[in-house]
Amino acid sequence: MNKLILTFILLLISTTALAQKGQFMPLDTFKKAYFSADTQWQTMWVDQSLRAEIEKILQHPFNGLRIRYWQQEQRSGWVFEEVGKELPITAGVVIENDTIEKLVVLEYRESRGGEVRYPFFTDQFDQASIVSDAVDYRMDKDIDGITGATLSVRALKRVALLALFCHQQIMSNE
């Protein structure tokens, strides 16, 4: 039995490795995929009223002073870090004409729940837009979860919503 187990372990280790966690796409690669090479970071400074809305979306305090983004006409790109259970997930979101064009998990650090990085999950965010009322903000489509990754799923929903909200802010200021 012990030999059988050991053989199974070795077979598994020799299988093509798929990282459950780690960096899956460098920031530059993400930027180049959606923006021209000369696109520079821009800064959205977070004042008190903006902070209140951001915290409503994130459902926890936001300590940043600014949010950086790329913009090219009606398209904007955002990179946020949001904690799932214990460690931050780095996610990039591209918004075009007020809807999500693509959400990409750039880096995942938690031990469990790394399935959220796969397109079978992130593709659900495509074409989602923001809906708001007097109480809160939400997306106009349901995102099916992943069992055992509930907190990571929730974190990515918050990131998507925040990117949509920030896009609205910069577009309304133009």
């Binding site: 187990i5 598994l12 280790i13 798929l18 459902q59 031990s111 099916d144 992943i146 509930t150």
Partner: protein, 396 residues
């Protein structure tokens, strides 16, 4: 008339000549432009420099001014969960219970090595009695080092939760329906179940994960119930180790399919000569929009005379739980369960339980629960466990 006109013309010509004298030459204009351009460049540089300083200041403020490497506090996280229950029994005294109060602590030693630990107080109070009959327990539920030894694979070394079932690994009260945990996983799996040893985890393909463990095993009496065999890694007899393997498929959003097998050569740890035990567990979860359904089946097959004599050579159960989220905050559920710890005995009767109720999340991590448990087949004599239950739970 003629004289004033001549005079005006002379004066105008004189002023025009003076004005022409005051106009800068082209070379002077060029020089002026150069000077202005130089000033613009300087101003641009100053703006860029100021911008850099502002962003550097913002960087420093946002990072908490932590110079150098991340501090101990940044590498250490705490969390926890808890739940209070009220059970209004139909045939016995009502009860309130500080059922669970749990604290997590983890520490990141490096990018690929971390500690995870969980300490739990059950039922609110522990009393040091001779026979251990105090109302509660303080338990070390998890304490392991996780090492990402190669890309895509990690190993947990220490005391960890067995990768089996739906709630054994994820059982924060805001993640499941019902005030009390389901009885099939409690009595058959048996959740919550932890052992000590090595647990390898990784992914074989996108959405297909494996777990493989070599660890301490159960220690039941000859013919005992599975749940009573948990040693909880407390001076646990380790004459016979157990081997656990799980495959989990999650490559379709909203779907989880999983199968676990566990082998233990002698589940009595050598008390009797033969007591081979095999656990098989299968479950499926499917979520689409507001609908979710969970279904689980688990079966123990134990070889041994003592187990065969009282029907405990087979201990098995299953449940199915549909649920519907009326809104982000409110969810309704129903659950039908059957289990039998004496399933090997033909005349034994399965425990059948219907449960239905609601969860109301006042915050995504804080839930209020109300439900009714109806024990259709009661094997406990006159004491019926039918109850209306209320609960509050949280995790962070």
């Amino acid at each position: 008339m003629f004289k004033p006109v001549i005079l005006a013309t002379v004066v105008a010509a004189s002023f025009s000549a003076q004005a022409a004298d005051a106009q800068p030459t082209n070379s002077e204009l060029l020089e002026l432009l150069k000077q202005q351009q130089a000033e613009i460049e300087v101003l641009k540089e100053q703006i860029t420099e100021a911008d850099t300083k502002i962003n550097a200041t913002a960087d420093a403020v946002e990072s908490g001014m932590s110079a150098g490497s991340a501090t101990w506090a940044e590498k250490t996280t705490i969390g926890g969960y808890g739940e209070h229950h009220f059970n209004h029994f139909e045939d016995k005294d009502d009860q309130v219970d500080a059922h669970r109060f749990v604290m997590f602590m983890s520490h990141q030693f490096s990018d690929n090595i971390r500690l995870f630990s969980e300490v739990e107080l059950e039922h609110g109070l522990t009393v040091d009695t001779d026979d251990g009959s105090g109302p509660g327990e303080v338990e070390l539920e998890q304490a392991y080092i996780e090492w990402d030894y190669t890309a895509g694979h990690s190993v947990q070394i220490g005391q960890f939760l067995i990768p089996v079932g739906i709630i054994n690994e994820t059982h924060e009260p805001d993640t499941f329906y019902g005030t009390e945990r389901n009885l099939v996983e409690k009595n058959i799996v048996p959740a919550t179940w932890w052992e000590t040893g090595l647990l390898f985890n990784g992914e074989i393909q996108p959405g297909l994960a494996y777990s493989l463990g070599i660890h301490s095993g159960l220690s039941t009496d000859d013919g005992g119930k599975i749940r009573d065999g948990r040693q909880k890694s407390a001076k646990a007899t380790a004459e016979d180790l157990a081997y656990t393997g799980r495959l989990k498929y999650t490559a379709i959003a909203g779907l989880e399919l999983a199968a676990t097998i566990q082998l233990q050569k002698n589940i009595t740890q050598g008390d009797v000569e033969s007591a081979d035990a095999l656990l098989t567990e299968l479950h499926a979860i499917y979520n689409t929009g507001p609908f979710t359904v969970r279904a689980l089946w688990a079966n123990w097959d134990i070889d041994g005379e003592g187990f065969e004599a009282n029907g405990r050579d087979e201990q098995s159960g299953w449940y199915v739980e549909p649920s519907y989220k009326v809104s982000e905050k409110l969810g309704l559920f129903a659950r039908y369960s059957e289990y039998n710890n004496n399933a090997g005995e033909a005349s034994s009767v399965d425990n059948e339980i219907w449960e239905y109720g609601l969860n109301y999340w006042i915050n995504p991590r804080v839930v209020l629960k109300a439900d009714y448990s109806d024990y259709v087949t009661e094997n406990n004599g006159s004491a019926d466990n039918d109850a209306f239950n209320l609960g509050v739970g949280w995790s962070f």
